[in-house]
């Protein structure tokens, strides 16, 4: 009897915050009387307990148990029977302090379920966690001189990508096994990391990162570019390491670094364990639960869900694999029960291996699953934004190569479109196209990733024998069968997939399943409410293209032509127009330099006349080109009680008439000699990173909390300012900012000039005759 055998035992568990780990903890707490669970959690010492609360006990896996026995009893149960220990399996002695070691020393059973299961794990990290983790665990146990029953969770796929039977045998006993030394692999992985790190710092690569950063952010200023460059470098390193992992794995016949390192781990533990009794449990693809804690329970998103959802959404129209192939999936509660049952067995010197899989004893074919999925979405369609049901496509299984090339082609076209759009001077709604394209691209990238990976798994076509598992099952009592069901033969696939798994995927996927308007406010409305919350403190605005569709060049042209005779007005305007391309180029390169050189044109401009004409310009140019919704927004902020601040590279006399909108205006100023301007700026204009610095100084002086502040701007050169506040708003964003804002979930506003505003082809001042 499992219950009796495990009652009162002290069981250490790693990986308890994971999908399987959580199920294990729940099962043990629910069914084993007086069991003591030592949970090795990666965190600072004090907060291990807190993390257990947050990451394990708050999960809905425990809601059934909590409601059955009552909250109080549940709290005391978890309080008394769970021992939190801060640990880190990537460190020697698992990073345990003496207390931790003392606790571990008293454990009867150790279940090792911690793993880096992500499919895009960098090689060295996969090695440190999946391979060296268990090795360190074994070393620690040996150092403590104890021999608890070690139950190690592995995966069926350590058998590698191959066809035919895969028995429950040690890998070294398998006829297909390619012998490699795990120590060599570990050292090689660590060396690869140093190589890649070095390579990433080579001048050519650094230059490349910087160029991509500039092309993504534009004239965002040196600090922003620098930080972006470093992010790109780190991403590159990671990509290289992921690639290295995949390549090493496939060179040895494994689908990915995860299975490869797991296979290494099995051998390493076998080699190093000495007297420690070892049981290896190899589940296949773990999916949502069949019965416990409740049917359909799932934690996080697994491998199949994104594919299923993309299929339902109509984004994935084909699927790799062969229709008659077998998809080996296994519900999580079966795996947890099997582990507990295995842990409860008498130990022997020999390593015991159980495979928990369905393919050999209760197979389900890919074509059957896809039929279920197709029918399911036929009956329960997902709705698109226009409230139309999406008809599921019928997969034709063209083979992975075709699917990938289809996706690649789509990606190529989107890339091409994106490049073109980036070069066009567009903003606002049309610029959102770029954001849309980028989103589509990400979707395709993701689908491609999953198709590649999942394809490798479904194309495995290995049959994982479960004879040890069945023998174990047959040896158990009736009561054990009821309490710890793990017989894969008992799964009714239709019921499981149609009634349990797919509804769970839909629910977790947050997709529209009815044509009704979404009940909650739209994201934009929600963000807008946050922005206009009275709790906010400061609202800061950029001017050009945020509040008005005008710029420093047109205001200068206006003022310069205001008092010129007709012929000269046009000469001046056409001269300025001819210079437009070079002005634009300079502006793109460095806005501060551009303003500095452009404002030279104000040299010798008479102050009094400029001030007078600037007020006329306010009506004729600024207001005429203003965005009424933007001005209204400023006024709304003011009405709510937010302080409103304008920070602009435009000149003070240009923005002076806007004063009543703002509590403060920070603008560029020209120095003068009493009667006329010199054309030189008094200080660095508040744009780019200076703008962020000016904002920070302002907030500090007036004691405003920037995390409770809002910034409105239109261009990537304003990124430093947008990033400085808690609530950034991209207004009529240019393509780069549009994509960025969409990705970061910022509020995007499209403020338009009033339709009906007087259209002025050229910014020429109405003639002043006296």
């Amino acid at each position: 009897m499992i219950k009796q055998h495990l009652a009162g035992k002290r069981i250490a568990i790693t990986g308890s915050t994971g999908f399987l780990g959580t199920a294990l903890v729940e099962l043990l707490l629910r069914e084993i009387p007086d069991v003591e669970l030592v949970l090795l959690i990666r965190s600072a010492r004090r907060s291990a307990a807190r993390r257990i609360q947050r990451d394990i006990l708050h999960n809905d896996a425990f809601s059934t148990l909590r409601s059955t026995i009552g909250k109080e009893k549940f709290d005391s149960l978890t309080e008394n029977q769970i021992v939190p220990v801060a640990a880190d399996i990537s460190k020697d002695d698992l990073g345990l302090d003496s207390d931790g070691l003392a606790i571990l020393q008293t454990c009867d059973i150790v279940i090792h379920s911690a793993a880096a299961v992500s499919f895009d794990e960098p090689l060295d990290r996969a090695v440190e966690v999946n391979l060296m983790g268990p090795v360190r665990l074994v070393e620690t146990l040996k150092n403590l001189d104890i021999t608890p029953h070690l139950v190690m969770v592995s995966t069926c796929y350590v058998a590698g990508s191959r066809k035919g039977d895969a028995p429950e045998l040690a890998l070294s006993d398998s006829p297909f096994y390619v012998p490699v030394d795990w120590n060599d692999e570990t050292n090689a992985a660590r060396r690869t990391r140093s190589y890649v790190e070095d390579a990433s710092r080579r001048p050519n690569n650094l230059k490349g990162f910087r160029e991509s950063a500039i092309s993504e952010l534009g004239a965002a200023g040196t600090p922003a570019i620098a930080s972006k460059t470093e992010t790109l470098r780190q991403r590159w390193v990671k990509d290289q390491m992921v690639d290295a992992g995949r390549n090493r794995a496939s060179s040895l016949g494994f689908p990915d670094a995860y299975t490869f390192t797991k296979a290494m781990a099995e051998q390493a533990v076998e080699e190093t364990r000495d007297r420690i009794p070892l049981t290896i449990v190899r589940p296949s693809i773990i999916e949502s639960s069949l019965q416990h804690p409740f049917s359909g329970w799932i934690r996080g998103f697994r491998m199949a869900e994104p594919i299923i959802l993309n299929f339902g959404r109509g984004t994935l129209k084909e699927f790799p694999g062969i229709p008659e192939g077998i998809m080996d999936i296994i519900p999580v509660d079966l795996v947890a029960s099997a582990i507990v049952a295995a842990a409860a067995q008498e130990t022997s010197e020999e390593t015991t291996i159980y495979q928990v899989a369905s393919g050999s004893c209760n197979p389900i074919r890919i074509s059957t699953i896809t039929d279920y999925v197709h029918n399911f979405f036929g009956e329960n369609p997902i709705y698109d934004e226009k409230n139309q049901p999406i008809a599921p496509a019928k997969w034709k299984f063209p083979g992975r190569g075709r699917v990938v090339s289809q996706l690649n082609r789509a990606n190529y076209l989107l890339n091409y479109a994106e490049q073109i759009l980036h070069k066009l001077p567009i903003r606002g709604r049309s610029a959102m196209l770029v954001a849309d394209i980028q989103e589509r691209k990400e979707e395709i990238d993701k689908a491609m990733e999953y198709v590649t990976l999942y394809g490798k798994y479904v194309e495995c076509e290995a049959l994982y024998s479960v004879s040890n598992l069945i023998t174990l099952w047959d040896s158990l009592s009736e009561e054990d069968h009821r309490t710890f069901p793990f017989d894969p033969r008992a799964i009714d696939w239709f019921d499981y997939i149609y009634n349990t798994h797919l509804p769970t995927v839909i629910a977790k996927g947050r997709v529209k399943t009815s044509p009704a308007k979404s009940t909650g406010a739209s994201r934009t409305t929600r963000l807008r409410t946050q922005v206009l919350d009275p709790k906010r403190e400061l609202a800061v605005f950029d001017l050009e293209n945020t509040l008005i569709a005008s710029n420093v060049v047109s205001s200068w042209t206006y003022l310069a032509t205001k008092r010129l005779p007709a012929a000269e007005r046009f000469k001046l305007v056409s001269r300025t127009l001819a210079q437009a391309p070079s002005l634009l180029a300079l502006d793109r390169k460095d806005r501060t330099d551009f303003l500095r050189s452009f404002y030279r044109r104000y040299a010798n401009a008479p102050i009094e006349q400029i001030d007078k004409d600037a007020f006329e310009m306010f009506s004729e140019l600024i207001l005429a080109k203003s965005f009424p919704a933007a001005l209204l927004r400023v006024r709304e902020h003011k009405a709510i009680g937010h302080r409103t601040l304008l920070i602009t590279g435009a000149l003070d006399f240009v923005v002076k008439p806007l004063q009543p909108l703002f509590d403060d205006i920070i603008s560029a100023t020209l120095s003068h000699n009493g009667n006329s301007y010199t054309g030189q700026m008094q200080q660095v204009p508040p744009i780019g990173e200076t703008r962020a610095a000016v904002l920070r100084r302002y907030a500090k002086t007036h004691s405003y909390d920037l995390t409770e502040s809002i910034a409105y701007a239109d261009s990537t050169s304003d990124l430093p300012m947008l990033e400085a506040v808690g609530f950034p708003v991209a207004v009529n964003p240019e393509p780069k900012l549009a994509a960025l804002a969409r990705r970061r979930g910022w509020l995007i506003e499209n403020f338009q000039a009033a339709s009906g505003s007087p259209s002025k082809m050229l910014p020429i001042g109405s003639r002043k005759r006296n």
Binding site: F618, E620, A624, P657, P660, S755, G756, S757, P758
Partner: protein, 538 residues
Amino acid sequence: MGNEQRRNPRPGLVLDVDRSTPPVLFHHGEGFRLEKLPAGRSRILYPPEAQPGLKNPDQRIREALENPLGDSEPLSALLKSGMKLTIAFDDISLPLPPMRAPDIRQRVIEAVLDTAASNGVDDIHIIAALALHRRMTESELRHAVGDRVFDAFAPSGNLYNHDAEDPDGMVVIGATPHGEEVQMNRRAAESDLIVYVNINLVAMDGGWKSTATGLSGYTALRHHHNPQTMVQSRSFMDQENSELHKSNWRQGKILKDSGIQIFQIETTVNNNTFGHDGPLAMLQKREWEWTLGDRSAFIGYQTGLRRMSASAKRKIFNGWQSPYEMTSIQAGEVEAVHRQTTENVYKEQLVDVQGQTDILTMGLPYICPYNVNSVMNPVLVACLGLGYFFNMYRGKPLVRKGGVVIMTHPTPWDFHPVHHPSYIDFFERVLSQTKDPVEMSQRYEKAFAEDEWYRHLYRTSYAYHGVHPFYMWYWCAHALDHLGQVVIVGGDPKAVRRLGFRPATTLQDAFEIASDVVGPQPTITHYHSPPILMANVQ
């Protein structure tokens, strides 16, 4: 039109539509429509033809100044050396469309200034009496008063726009027995004499409305520019039955009693809106009298206009200046002058009509008093149709209680950001919540009227006052109260619905929609204007 006919213009006409009646002209914003009306139950109201203008206008002006009406001395006797003189004049909202130079105001002001100069008056201010309208631009002021006056007075700061929000520039004179405050431009109120120069385009203009409204501000205007008053003004074009005018006259009495001296000069212009000849002449002809040339020109315009952008069309239409001629001038004491003026206006515009009909159709032109050199936004469309055109009656409205008004206008969702900033917010934030004039006056008016930003724009830029869109809606209050439904043909459906009206694509569709309210086979009156006509409904 022959010279003989110009000397003897025909009166207005009510035409019963039969099968031989050609399609009738509907103005449609910056464009036109020709529509066939159902025979046997439709009638068309045509305005009287233009009266001939006064032969020697400058001479007649001087005569009027020296031969005042009512209890008033001649102007020359009122002007004395060392006195403070303020000349106030009607703003850009009159006349419509703007008249060709020289503007009547220029002629009259020059005459007044001549008299003042010969009497040694040198403290003179000239003020555009625009109440809560937008300020006039330099070129608009130049057009109204002429370059000579402008260059002599503007640079020294003695010719300017009235500013009803200048805290130091306004003074409260008192209050009427009804509790209506009376407010006036301080310079005007503290002058020894105010000379008011008016152009009386429609019967609503002039009288005490000139000074008690034109030189006033929100403090005083809110007492009659409100839904309660407007719903009781039946119509506001008919002073005898207009609560709006009664309130203005009460305020005028307070002005008079406080000792403020006003010399009122009122003028009327003829109905020569589109010219006897020239490119638009056919617009003031009756359709069956269109010549081959008129027809082909009209087809040409239609074809051309179809290809033009909205802003290009606006530019062309805004460029039109009417060859108005002055038909009368009277000066002296306000009420005596205005009685005569009103009579003259009626003589030019009044048409006798028998009884009401179920449906009133009207073609709305591109211009109303509040979008000169600007954009006719949806709120102004409503105001022109339901405020001005609907109220162009004496006696009873042209359409029965519970009847339907069908108007044609493109009604684009367009606003002039400089002239009408508060309209944009009004349309977005007020009309989206309520169309009820009373409710909006209680819930929203004060916030708009006292908004600092609108105040700033009214004072320093060229914006209508924050409260102005409310007034436009109140102008519609009587019609909204009287009508069963309003349909706009050819308008932007979204904008039309925001106004609370029904959009229709064609006039036939509009009749279909209207039949739900007034039943099948309704009687129809088409109000054929501009040129202006006022119905005397018996």
